[in-house]
Symmetry: C2
Subunit: 133 residues, 2 copies
DNA sequence: TTATACAGTGGAGCATGGTCCACTGTCAAG
DNA sequence: CTTGACAGTGGACCATGCTCCACTGTATAA
């Protein structure tokens, strides 16, 4: 199928698909061209793009996605390997969540300190939200 | 003081300080040069950098930090304004946290589905972690 | 015939926040 | 007098993931 079809069926834009192609996440066989030089994408590319979509939706970067696809390529993407990668990602996500929660508390405390020590129209340089006390 | 001192006392590297200078977050008066052309940073710059540090630590981007500093500049950084910005940031952070929590659940479910339906050495294309079922 | 929508390529640009580099000048110690 | 640490400038480069652009070729319908 042509790239437009592929775009429609994967939800990726043509530009994105071409971007992935440039970066080696997908590839068209050199001979898969129509007479007019249009690329004829085989169905496996559609499958692969849907796979990329799935993996990306799980929070993996394009590089990580690439690695995973490489493992699939050489048939080394075992359940244990993939579960391990996914679990590592869970840990990373939990770290990020913890960081954000801490940040949120910092902000909340700053707001509290500000609203309890100064009037709304007062200059915020006095309440610790802008300047260190 | 010279940039080295400033770096030491703020924890920013010289490069970062110069980067901030290039981007207008700080500025040295055009005349604040020693005879040897070294910049003589007034104490206000030190204060300003520490302020930047504080604001950044609250999760604001450099652009947002810039905006806040601009408000301070024209004395419009009231407690209400600042508390409002901080609260908006809290909301944004909570959105991010919610996204990450959902992502974590997606991953956990994927792992669970994988580990319950296939043996560790099995090919992960069969368990939904790589390919849509 | 011409407008349009599609296809191809290569490369620039965006946001974010620095980091590093080359090349030059200055100053103090040994 | 040389060495080293510091200062200055301008600009390139990094990761991330696209997005857009120019320029060209092809297919189709009015």
């Amino acid at each position: 199928m042509l790239i437009g079809q592929l775009a429609q069926r994967t939800g990726f834009t043509r530009d994105t698909i071409r971007f992935y192609e440039k970066h080696g996440l997908i590839a068209v066989p050199r001979k898969a061209r129509r007479l007019n030089n249009y690329k004829e994408y085989p169905d496996e590319v559609l499958e692969r793009l849907l796979t990329i979509k799935r993996i990306k939706a799980m929070g993996f970067t394009l590089n990580e996605t690439q690695e995973i696809l490489d493992l699939v390529e050489v048939d080394q993407a075992t359940c244990a390997t993939m579960a391990g990668k996914a679990n590592a990602k869970v840990v990373a996500i939990e770290q990020k969540i913890a960081d954000l929660v801490r940040l949120r508390e910092t902000l909340r405390n700053a707001v509290k300190g500000c609203t309890t020590t100064c009037a709304p129209e007062a200059n915020a340089t006095r309440c610790g939200l802008v300047v260190h006390r």
